[in-house]
Symmetry: D2
Subunit: 346 residues, 4 copies
């Protein structure tokens, strides 16, 4: 496919994920933005809802329908869970569909049904190319499930230690602090600025958050051992970004050098995953708006645990950046096209 | 001692801890505020440095010296580590000294020296009355070490499960997100608003933070087993508050009801520690400016861990509120005098 | 009336203004909190909606009705505009009604109707005792209209210069930056944390905000000249606080000393209005949670304008603090009972 | 000059302005980044100081000297005031020097000396191409003074009304709320996150801020009348962005349609200045990281003033974006090369 001829539609363009997909596509050299659609906001201008997308300000949001989405090379779905199957069925196999929602992330129907409470739609190639085996499945794919934001950073933070056999996957603890955009743009009292500014809170505690099994699924591919994770998400007062603190029992005799070597090796060829120099700790600000993941690893000898800190922009690499990265893979474009490792800071 | 006759001095009144001690003392019915002292800011007005303390705006900060601090019934030390021993020695045994710094918190000299790098000054009664045994030691005490902010909330969050034998203390994981005032008022680039707003970062990772051994010390008093904790502090974009996520392997057969019962029993008579109703999760905003600790407990059966979330105001109950609470105990006043359970929200 | 016998009801207790009234009443030595009511949230516990009000956590919100509100000495109304008249009519003249809403603030029916679009209910004594003439009208009153948050700080900031004839009231410009709680607790997309954090915006620009005519009304009482104000409110990323920048053309020959003298004289006896020392500028943080107003005045000789900066907590002195202050006046209690000049900072 | 051959140096690369210049240059298709220099931070890695600039992480900051800066086609100076003259003199006339500092902004030596207190260095073409006459002077220039951040947005907000004779320039009032990065990266207590979060404050009040005369200078070029401005800057709790509220007495008979027409005409051909649709108000979030200026205009008939709200990213279009835009003009490149109108939101 010639690069300048990629015609793209974005369904759910009034929300945060859809808006971020559009933001990144505006910087992609080969993309032509076609239909932009919404549900309740159909008929409104994109400028009134996403005023930062200046070149698209005059675009009017269309109703999300198969007819509107048809005729594009790539369709990004940034919809509430449960709506993707219909479009996948109706749009035909030639269209690349990249689902920013959860519908096709989990492979195990029982796990899906336990955590989402609806029938399992199936699973698509999982859009985290940096995990072993994934990139090949994504290359040329016509259906892609973009990972959840927490699983992206948590899996990348823990994978090298587990894959290298340096950490015990049976008692992982992940505490991940997220900016509020991860909770979406629907108006809810507990997400009001007055509520979230000056406050940190926990939610989805005790193994009930839907991203927990996704982390288990990712890491289980790397080991024959049982993977268990205690996952706690926190809501912190910032719009974007996730900082994940990921710990695992360390295998006896493992040194910090062993750990650093495993991470360096795992991500040496990855354009977007950066192990920081020793002594420097990730901060979400440094990845703001970028497709980068910043990692750092420590060994707590007294606690006999490895601690890995990972930072990601939940909307960029955590959602829309991964989606564009996957589009590039699906279309055979250079994987980093239109994506940046450079954050907007301070 | 008659309540209206308590003459109090605050050393380190230009900083955050000292300012908060003064704020609380202004609401204490029996206290007369005497000397307020500082180091580099001596000679300046309190109003220029702590403009929220309106009734003390015209007070001029004196140099911190034994002479200035002498002649008070109670002296609060809110000084950098290492300065308390001198005043303790020179002020005499009649004066109640309440040290908001770390100098007298740890009982084990080797641990102190490992984490602080200076000779051990000794240990004083530990100002966390809600832990078993502590209240009696604080009542009538003339020297009190105020706990660190992270150990306060982390210890209170984990103590009931460990004391009741419901959790294994050998593999605790604590990830605690703190507002920036915990890092003090000294001007440092990484604490600038431009750096911290919109960002979460980790620091002191891998078992090197000084509050780790303090948590171990507190919990070791409750069990014969070895206590190990992986402690990771996070810096989050808010001025005040700590939210601690504390997890422990659960002992086989433990139910959520068992856990809730243990917490309810442990804190039933405590005026400042509140187990929230099931389904409600702590947020730091709710304890802003108050002496309250909000707790909630969950059981993650898949991960086989208990997860306890605790919220505290690092400057209030986490430092200055505990200090005033301890003063009340030292002087035989009702323990909650001048302290409030009510937060300033939103 | 004996102080410990004041029975108080709060209507609208699930919102920000109602919650703040309750917070302050919990610190008032003579008040007994009776009914707490709500609309849509009736039947829920106060603890689930206002978790910072620990002593009231188990209270169940009742439906707001005249029957529920009857039988109290004082009723605070923190309701949407347009609901006060009914309760005022039905509750009887013995009950002190303090309306935190706008219904009875404006004296001019035509102005009311222009800005609110509904019939004028009338006007009650205006709860800003620091303006000339108001305190007498409030003392012993049975009906009180609590001022708007912007008019409180803007009027106090401009009144002395205008009353002293040092500034021309015909071309006032007020730009006031408010925290988000001023916009209430109803869930709206533009008030989400994701929208407001990291952003400043303007709203109600060009003379359409309802607080504009209230400022004009207040200042018109101080001068025979026509008062005109260009008022622009800003929404800034913090939960509480207003900083108002208020400018007026200076009358020829006026010096900064004249101005400072006017402000010092105007507020010399006021417990809650503080002219800061020369060189120190107000910050909203210093008044957080308090009933204080901080002012500073400058003379811009090149622009021939006086500039007054005022800081207030929009929920405290800007709403609920004023309401409690007025209750004290209505009941003949010392005006500052239960109120503090001390902010919660940092 | 062939685009891919532009060799650029950045002096002051450890600060916020220098970091932003580098961020933008990393997205500029023709630039090769040469020397990056600093003062006290010389010898450190850029990655440790600007971790968001991933592609430059391994660069070591050199000492800022003429020798280091020599040999580049373009030198950006992001230095403290007073240091530019030396490099301008020593680097030679072939080098394009773009000064992000103030040294060459003001044309009037007396005004410079009054506000800066040092001898006047002179003036260079003023890097705000959107004001009448400026673009021609910048095209092909070898020395360019980048405007101050406040004057950029304030001048653009007021210029059309004044140039069209619709507003009286003799009594302008500008209140501009800025994020903290405008105050730089030097560690100062009043800029700590603990101080700025949750607070708005004013500074430089009463005609003493250095950007006041720069606004006067810009607007004076558009009218024969005397320009007077009351300028008040506010510090608000966000890292980036300025929202300026700019008001002027309206000339009798002017309608809102007249005003909108003047703004539409003035900026119809400008790629970076956007008059928003009626009813939509600027927010700084929408321009975060972009080179856009968002404007909206209102007419307050009662106050007889026009009110213009302008939003800009103080570091991007307010400093570094303007600098890159000016580089493009200086080199004869398309003016928008490497710059984006798209903000990073939410």
């Amino acid at each position: 496919m010639h690069m300048s001829s990629i015609k793209v539609a974005v369904a759910g363009a009034s929300g945060y994920a859809g808006g971020e997909v559009l933001r990144l596509l505006l910087g992609h050299p080969g993309v032509q933005i076609g239909a932009v659609t919404a549900g309740a906001n159909a008929g409104e201008s994109l400028g009134s809802l996403q005023p930062h997308l200046v070149p698209l300000a005059d675009r009017i949001l269309e109703e999300t329908t198969t007819e509107v989405l048809a005729g594009h090379d790539v369709v990004f779905l940034a919809l509430p869970h449960g709506q993707s199957a219909q479009y996948a069925a109706e749009l035909g196999d030639d269209v690349v569909i990249i689902d920013c929602g959860a519908d096709y992330r989990l492979t195990d129907a029982a796990v899906w049904e336990k955590f989402y409470g609806t029938p399992h739609a199936g699973s698509w190639p999982y859009g985290l190319p940096e995990l072993p085996g994934n990139r090949a499945a994504l290359t040329g794919a016509r259906r892609i499930a973009v990972p959840g934001c927490y699983p992206t950073v948590s899996s990348l933070a823990l994978a090298p230690a587990i894959a290298a056999g340096l950490a015990d996957p049976g008692d992982l603890v992940v505490v991940a602090a997220s900016g509020t955009s991860g909770a979406g743009k629907a108006a809810k009292t507990h997400l009001l600025g007055s509520e979230v500014m000056g406050s940190v809170s926990a939610y989805g505690v005790g193994g009930v958050h839907r991203h927990g099994p996704e982390i288990v699924q990712n890491l289980s591919r790397l080991t024959d051992e049982v993977v268990r994770v205690s996952f706690t998400p926190l809501l912190v007062p910032m719009p974007r970004g996730i900082l994940a603190t990921c710990t695992a029992p360390v295998v006896d005799g493992t040194t910090l050098d062993d750990l650093r070597a495993a991470y360096e090796k795992a991500y040496a060829e990855e354009p977007f995953v950066h192990l920081l120099p020793a002594g420097q700790w990730p901060a979400t600000k440094a990845v703001h708006g970028s497709n980068s993941v910043h990692l750092q690893v420590a060994l707590d000898e007294a606690a006999q645990r490895v601690v890995v800190i990972g930072a990601v922009d939940n909307l960029a690499k955590g959602t829309a950046g991964a989606a564009v990265q996957c589009m590039n893979l699906a279309l055979g474009l250079p994987e980093a096209t239109g994506l940046s490792t450079v954050g907007v800071a301070p």
